[in-house]
Structures are given as structure tokens and as C-alpha cells.
Symmetry: C2
Subunit: 231 residues, 2 copies
DNA sequence: ACCTGAACACCGTTCAAGT
DNA sequence: ACCTGAACACCGTTCAAGT
């Protein structure tokens, strides 16, 4: 929107060893920049969760005034967008690739996607409501290309991608939201047990407790791929 | 937590036709109650979205002081929990059921679940982060029972339920988040076209535009059921 | 070009008090 | 038992001003 940029001013000139004045932070921080803001936002989100990210607190962590952020960033929404995409970089298939064929590649891409989001538990539930940044688009592009090469017809491609995307998102969001402390988990199942005459089946199967999330994820993914892809 | 209840005081006694005093609302509202609070919260959420629900605004809609709500409700979190579950009641399979077998029942249950959430677009993205109320548990119980009767082994039951749950959640959340105005949609694809050399495949397939969400949902669901269930 | 403090219009919730 | 207003400790953001 605005003309604000943040690209080229990294030269930082030679600051001539600023003599620290009383009351100031001794080790003067590097100047503000989009990169620093985003990196610190990710740290803050990792440490405090979505509700912990506050423009004021973020500025505090950066050693700047709260309003200084607004020079580099339009608003809080943009901070979310940038932090999210920053966390979703894809480094490509592992060294052992090539030999494993397209199916292995797809599975790797989706498991890596999930793993990236699980490393930053705030990211999964944030993603669906935010703009698609370059890293997200890059992952979609790569997935698309691989499926296409695997023989998925153009007419079926979008449906296949969205089915997989939906599945990965749902699995990750659920996984994060049920990753409670053991006490919370026990309490929930406890509450359930108290109502066992109303919910006998899920009480008996201990639905809320013993879940092999990773195994279940992989199994469902395989079923989807069986259906979505030819051959 | 607290000893607060809201069950039995519905008698409301005979209020003796309160003479409306100047400055007061003429038609005096019915007394506050959990039910009224939740119903109004749902209306407000439907109209204004998640960010539009504010304790103060909610109280305004109810014609009461902001703090009055806290007698009936612990905090804002609980309002969310209650509003969410209120919206997820399940009325059971249609009249024509019985003849359609367990697979038809499962499909109906999950499509109804999705439809209920789509009717209240705030609900889908809220659900994963909230406590499971009786209506949600009821749906899980019914799904569980049906799958069990269909022959899914006890050992596979939880994985099957969570796979379906995840898929439904992911599909619904994505669907809601991409249900932008046409201009937004066009703008997004526009931006993509500008980068078409970086994302040629998804640009060519118009991934962000022509999506048959409902068809894709049903297709992926069928694939999952094929894999998850015996026979 | 970059950063700042004061100020505005909001929040959720505690508390002591009213009826 | 139920409702209330004042007050507290926060928010995101605008604006006019500093360097």
C-alpha cells in the first residue's frame, strides 16, 4: 500500500561507537527492519502464543518504541502474515530423493508441511485466515507440479490439491488443539466418564486419550492418495 | 467453577406490570439468562464475526449493563464455548434413512456437520480451540457407533474417527476462509498472475479461483471411507 | 528516512456496592 | 439472587512532532 520499503538500508554506515548515555540500553540494538521484526514476532509467538503477540510487547522485545514498528509494517495483520510465511519455508526433498518416486515426494512434502506447523503451534490455526505468502504458494506450486507429473489429469488437479491441503490442515490443527497437558487430557476424559451413559462408545474407545496422531495422519493420507492418484 | 447456576429460576414470578419509568426502555426486556445470552451471542457472531463479539456489545444487545453477564457466565471464553455448541446440534438422519445403510448415514452426518458450520462461518475456525460441548460429543458418539456397527474394528476406530474429523474440519475451515468476495478472489489470482513465472502450475490451473468445494469435499470423503472401512 | 510520546477509542474483568 | 458503575490494566492505531 504505502511507499515504505525496507530493502537497501542495511549498510548501517559506520556509527562511530555511540557513547552510551545514562539510562539508555548499553548495547544499542541494531536498527529496526522488517526482518528483525518478523524474526522477533516468531520468537514471541513461539513463546507466548497468538494472544501473546502485541504490538507493544513486540516493540519492547525489539528495544524500540511501540509506534516505530508502523514505519516498517502496515499493521498487526501484516505482522501475522509475515510471521506465518516465514515459518513455512520449504527446503525441498531430502538427499535420498529421486529414488523414491512421486508418491514418496508427495508424502515427504506433506509431512514436512505438517512438521513445520507443529514446530510453531500457533501457525496452523492462523494459516487459514491469512494471506498466502510466497512460501505457502511455493509449497502449493511444488505439490501441484508433482501431482501433475504423477499423472493426475488437469481437470482433477485442483480437487486433489485441496483435498490434501484440507486434510493436512485439519490434522495439524486438531493435533495442536488436543496437545493439552496430561492433566487437561485426563480431566476431559474424566468429564466424559461421568457422562458415560450418554457417550458410551467414545468413552469405551478412550477417543480423547490414546491417539497415535502421527500414525493416523499417515494412514488417512495414504487412503487419500490411493483415491486421488491414478494407477 | 463458581456456584453460579441458571437452571431453575425461570418462574420469573408475577412481575405486576412494571410501570415504565422515563429514560428506561419502554418494553422491558425479559430477564437475563444463559439461554438468552447464548442466543444473542450467536446472532452477534453471525452478524459481525468473531471479532465482533464483545462482552460490552453483547450486553448492549441484551439491554443490560456489561457486567451483568458475569453473573450468568464465567467469562468470554465460556460464551464462545456455549455459542459454538449451540450451533452444532444434530437432528439425526433424515426420514428416508434406514434404507441407505451405514455409509449413507455417515456421509449424511458429516455433510450435515459441515453444513452446520458453514451456516455460521465463525464456528469452524473456532471449534478446534474450544472445549467439546455435549452436541459435539453427541456427534462424535453417533459417528463412532455407526462406524462400529459398520464393522470397523475397535483398534481402528479412533484413527478412523479422527481422520474423518480432521478432513471435515480442514475442508470447512478452508472453505470458509476462501469464501472471499469476488473482488478479493480476483485480486488474489491477479497477484498470482503477476508472479506466474514463479508459480506456473497453480497459475495455469487457476487454483485460487474455480473450485467446486462441495464436489471436492464429497470426493475426498469417499476416498477416505473407501480406505477406512471394511468391505 | 526513521523514530517517538501523547492521545483516542476501545477491550476483559475485579470490586465494592446497590436492590 | 441478580444487576450495576467506576476503575484498572491493558489493547491497536492516528497524529503531530522530533531528528
Amino acid at each position: 500500500m504505502a511507499a515504505k520499503r525496507s530493502g537497501a538500508q542495511n549498510k548501517r554506515s559506520q556509527r562511530k561507537s555511540v557513547s552510551p548515555q545514562a539510562g539508555q540500553a548499553l548495547r544499542s540494538e541494531p536498527p529496526l527492519s522488517r526482518e528483525r521484526i518478523v524474526a522477533t514476532a516468531v520468537e514471541l509467538l513461539d513463546a507466548e502464543g497468538v494472544d501473546g503477540l502485541t504490538m507493544r510487547r513486540l516493540a519492547d522485545c525489539l528495544g524500540s518504541g511501540a509506534m516505530s514498528l508502523y514505519w516498517h509494517v502496515d499493521n498487526k495483520e501484516e505482522v501475522f502474515d509475515l510471521a506465518l510465511d516465514a515459518v513455512l519455508e520449504y527446503r525441498g526433498p531430502p538427499q535420498t530423493a529421486g529414488s523414491q518416486g512421486w508418491r514418496g515426494e508427495v508424502v515427504h512434502m506433506l509431512e514436512d508441511w505438517r512438521a513445520s506447523m507443529l514446530r510453531h503451534p500457533w501457525s496452523a490455526s492462523l494459516l487459514p485466515r491469512r494471506a498466502l505468502g510466497p512460501n505457502i504458494l511455493g509449497r502449493l506450486e511444488m505439490l501441484s507440479k508433482t501431482l501433475s507429473r504423477a499423472g493426475v489429469a488437469d481437470a482433477d488437479l485442483n480437487a486433489a490439491i485441496w483435498s490434501l491441503w484440507n486434510y493436512v490442515m485439519g490434522a495439524t490443527i486438531t493435533r495442536v488443539s488436543f496437545d493439552l497437558s496430561d492433566e487437561d487430557m485426563a480431566a476431559a476424559q474424566q468429564r466424559l466418564t461421568g457422562l458415560s451413559e450418554r457417550y458410551p462408545t467414545i468413552e469405551r474407545s478412550r477417543l480423547l486419550l490414546d491417539n497415535d496422531w502421527d500414525g493416523a495422519f499417515r494412514k488417512g493420507l495414504d487412503f487419500l492418495l490411493d483415491g486421488l492418484t491414478p494407477g
